[in-house]
């Protein structure tokens, strides 16, 4: 079994910042942090080699670096590729992420790196790369390296459940979508996944499952009679002609539009921009998505003090949850600073 381990100049023990320009170097055997992993795997008869690069060199000479890494892979033919741990070191983390992603995609060997969740490298992680979670500093070095060897043992063992358990316990969830080319058309691929799931077999979706983060649920403070209430929708309702060019899917923005002085939303004055649903019924009467007419009736009956004079809108289809979270936080900030104490949100 062969392991190729990439380290920056610092963790390879070559030098500090003065060696950040070090070009990619192939070293037979383990050095620096790698010796600990090698020791842990010695019963496996591991053959170890090391790649070292300077933190600046990798980013300044990315193409040359990749050429050198390719040459090392061709020469050494590793079964496992390791990089890091990078902790919260940005240049190192980015390099580990890029190299592991490239190795996994092009060499089809397991690629394992390790870093802290705030490391910018997490944004560059490709599909199927294991990213072991570490602390922010090298204080968690021993623990992180132990997990490298543990994961290699698990991968050699081939017990999918044990690997998945390791992943959920020790790896960072990388919640992004990746463009991949599958062997079969999408409908065949989808059916295969479904059958595997029904038969209790292991399978891996192209789309990582994104867990919603828990948020506290606010309760109304004070009486509804004294509250200003705002209308919000993800249904894409905008003034006719879509003056601000709200996207009809994969929304990245939100807008607010005045309803001051309006009693209801009239057909022909507003329209829905949304590829996620049939908008014809809403276009016939926009109050069916932003219920202004009903809210005016309830406002007049003094059920609440006032309806906010703008409604907020975005398009909630095909979008990244992280982007939607950003949009939600933006709307919430504006609402909170406008003295609004309650919201009715309509969603398709």
């Amino acid at each position: 079994m062969k392991v190729l381990h990439s380290l920056n100049q610092f963790f390879a023990g070559i030098g500090g910042e003065e060696k950040a320009g070090q070009e990619v170097l192939f070293i037979p055997g383990a050095v620096g942090a790698g010796t600990i992993v090698q020791n842990a795997l010695k019963d496996r008869g591991v053959e170890y080699a090391t790649l070292v690069w300077g933190d600046n060199y990798f980013h300044e000479q990315e193409e040359k670096s990749f050429n050198a890494i390719r040459a090392a892979l061709e020469k050494f033919q590793p079964d496992f590729f390791l990089a890091g741990p990078a902790f919260n070191a940005g240049r190192y983390g980015l390099a580990c992420a890029k190299v592991c992603s490239w190795v996994r995609d092009n060499w089809r060997v397991p690629a394992i790196t390790a870093m802290h969740e705030d490391n910018p490298g997490t944004k560059e992680i490709g599909r199927h790369v294991f990213v072991i979670q570490t602390g922010a500093s090298a204080a968690s070095m021993q623990e992180s390296l132990k997990r490298f060897s543990l994961l290699i043992e698990l991968l050699l063992g081939g017990n999918q459940t044990a690997i998945e358990n390791f992943r959920s316990e020790h790896c960072l969830p990388i919640s992004r979508r990746f463009t991949v080319r599958s062997q079969a058309p999408d409908y065949v691929r989808a059916t295969d996944l479904l059958l595997a799931k029904l038969q209790g077999q292991s399978y891996e979706s192209e789309i990582p499952r994104i867990e919603a983060t828990a948020h506290p649920i606010p309760n109304l403070t004070g009486r509804l009679k004294d509250a200003t209430v705002a209308l919000v929708t993800e249904g894409g309702l905008v003034p006719k002609g879509n003056p601000d060019r709200l996207e009809s899917s994969r929304g990245s923005r939100y807008f607010k539009y005045s309803i001051d002085g309006r009693e209801d939303l009239k057909r022909g004055e507003f329209e829905a921009m949304h590829t996620g649903y049939d908008t014809s019924t809403v276009n016939q009467d926009p109050d069916r998505i932003v219920p202004l007419d009903a809210m005016r009736v309830l406002e007049k009956s003094q059920r609440f003090r006032k309806l906010h004079d703008h409604y907020f809108v975005t398009t909630g289809t095909g979008a990244m949850p992280s982007k939607m979270e950003e949009i939600g936080a933006g709307i919430a900030d504006e609402l909170a600073s406008s003295g609004i104490s309650a919201v009715i949100l309509t969603a398709t």
Partner: protein
């Protein structure tokens, strides 16, 4: 906040506090089969329920 949607299971999964079933996926607060005046009355009733939901303290997702 109260969310009016037909996908109350999704809203529950993401942890929305107050959830109300809308009429249809593509018009949660519409009832196009009704004449306009009756549709408005229906919508006022629905929103009235929404306001009651807003007044109700909740600790975890609740479908009204």
């Amino acid at each position: 906040m109260v969310v009016i949607t037909c996908l109350s299971n999704v809203a529950t999964q993401v942890g929305i506090g107050r959830i109300m079933g809308g009429n249809k996926f593509h018009y949660p607060v519409g009832q196009p089969e009704l004449p306009p005046a009756e549709e408005l009355r229906w919508r006022v009733n629905l929103l009235e329920k929404g306001l009651t939901a807003l007044e109700t303290p909740v600790k975890e997702p609740k479908v009204f």
